[in-house]
Subunit: 321 residues, 2 copies
């Protein structure tokens, strides 16, 4: 949940003067997204999302994120389409922050995804990877293996407050992942944060992908690994093999995984789990009481790290090559 | 800001089965309202607000609130219109809470209302009072003069923490208001919470009134007094006489105030300021750190109480009888 910045109707009207969307009818701060402030805007021409980029987003990255949404949308991937100002610009300023307007996507995210939703996700992810293949911009992943130790160094000292022994366990895993992180696997545009709240459905059909603000150029199979973590574990941290099979085999039906990618999958899944454990741990230790942000439990991802350590090969996830 | 209760697409779809609003397309928790959880719902037939009533709302009051909206809407007052279930019921249940669906009103609330907005408000308030005259249900005001002392008793001991001397000052004011609260003034349906965030505009025109969850049967002029407090003071607590003139004279052009009502206005305004000071004070002292609710400053209303104490008659507010 977030609306960090409120805006007045006067400043919004001023901002919208540069756009051809017709009369402004209403705007509501919405309780989605944790990094930015989002407003659902109704105008005479339709519904839009206005995003104000808060301090965690580097403004220099916005052309990549918005350009990617435009590119994917042009290729038939359903995602928010940036609305251009009359000048052609996609980024404006509002309340002292960079702001962008994108089309509103109908659809709902699944609080309790089913096997069918995981199958749709696998197919949608593969289609996104293919559509991104000729996107000309690049952005390095700021939260991949080389970023984990600096992050860990800022949390390690207090890790055992969260769970006794956490420090030593993470240290060993991190060293192992740094030593063995795969090289030479196919790279391309990845979403990097494709959790259920970023995937919309209408009925059983995937209706769109949103929130590309972690998107970057990185190992494609790493995106698959992140989805395994985010979609295929139940609330009790048990791994749902049926969901994983659905996700992986729908993916490979559209973009086959090479044997090298398949072989790397357990390590990538372990790394992805560590990445989310680390950012959650850091937020857990550093979010002040009284903040509007709901803190997510780092231990959920510790459990996932442990699960992936027990996996010897990707066929244990249900992958059929 | 509030979304206290999140709901899943599954429970929402189940809830909506009783309504004829067409396919559910999306729903977003919105950051408006402080008492309930509100969702902006898009369906094939249009946009709606779904409200889940949290613990501060007594479910027995819902037929009054929803019936009033229906009544006012039928009389041409623009306000949310409750959507009936196929059975005719206006109240359902969702996530273990009473829930209701109302039509979505386009429009924006004014973070910085102008004189023109105050004029529109005055006229809109008077029209609402007239339209409510034949509403058959009654509800007592749970936050009028007889409720203030019990509320004060739960905050008095710690009042001086907020401002030294506050205890004695409120005690004196409260005793005076209890002794002199007017009797025999015209009563009817009042909104009782018509702050700027409950009044929508499109351009300079009032486009609707929302949030009738404090509405009750009480002194009509008390509603006018509350609007004076909520709309005619600037951020620095100075009283804007031009705004008050616009508000009062637009009101009386549609519903004239009797001389008894005019005479009572300074006392009613002082009482209304005390009422909001008391609830804010109580919340200030009792809202836990870390709550998602933004606490409002009780001292803003202390300043207003002091201002009204200095007023001898309603013509000092700019009222022309």
């Amino acid at each position: 949940m977030a609306v960090y910045t409120d805006i007045s109707e006067v400043e919004l009207a001023e901002f919208l003067k540069d756009y051809d969307i017709g009369e402004l009818l209403s705007y509501k701060g919405i309780a989605e997204g944790v990094e930015n402030s989002n407003f659902l805007v109704h105008a005479a021409s339709g519904a839009y999302i206005l995003t104000l980029y808060e301090k965690r987003v580097n403004p220099n990255d916005l052309p990549f994120f918005l350009g990617l949404m435009q590119h994917l949308s042009d290729k038939g991937i359903r995602c928010p389409l940036p609305v251009k100002q009359r000048s052609g610009a996609m980024i404006g300023e509002l309340a002292g922050r960079p702001g962008a307007l994108v089309t509103f996507l109908e659809g709902m995210w699944m609080r309790r995804p089913t096997v069918e939703h995981c199958r749709e996700l696998g197919a949608g992810l593969a289609a996104m990877h293919l559509a991104g293949a000729d996107f000309p911009m690049r952005r390095r992943n700021g939260l991949t293996v080389d970023a984990w130790r600096p992050l860990w160094n800022r949390a390690a000292e207090r890790a055992d407050e969260v769970e006794p022994g956490l420090g030593a366990e993470v240290e060993a895993d991190l060293a192992d992942l740094e030593a063995h992180w795969p090289k030479g696997l196919p790279v391309g545009v990845i979403h990097a944060d494709l959790f259920p709240d970023n995937v919309f459905f209408l009925g059983k059909r995937l209706s769109g992908l949103i929130d590309f603000y972690f998107a970057c150029t990185d190992i494609l199979a790493y995106d698959v690994a992140t989805c395994l973590n985010a979609w295929c574990f139940e609330k009790d941290n048990s791994f749902n093999l049926t969901k994983a099979m659905a996700l992986l085999n729908a993916y490979t039906a559209i973009r086959p995984l090479s044997s090298a990618e398949a072989e790397a999958l357990p390590l990538l899944a372990r790394g992805s789990a560590l990445r989310f454990m680390l950012t959650r741990l850091y937020d857990w230790l550093n979010t002040p009481e009284g903040s509007l942000v709901v803190k997510k439990d780092p231990l959920e991802y510790l459990r996932k790290m442990r699960f992936h350590r027990s996996i010897k090969s990707a066929d244990e996830y249900g992958l059929k090559l």
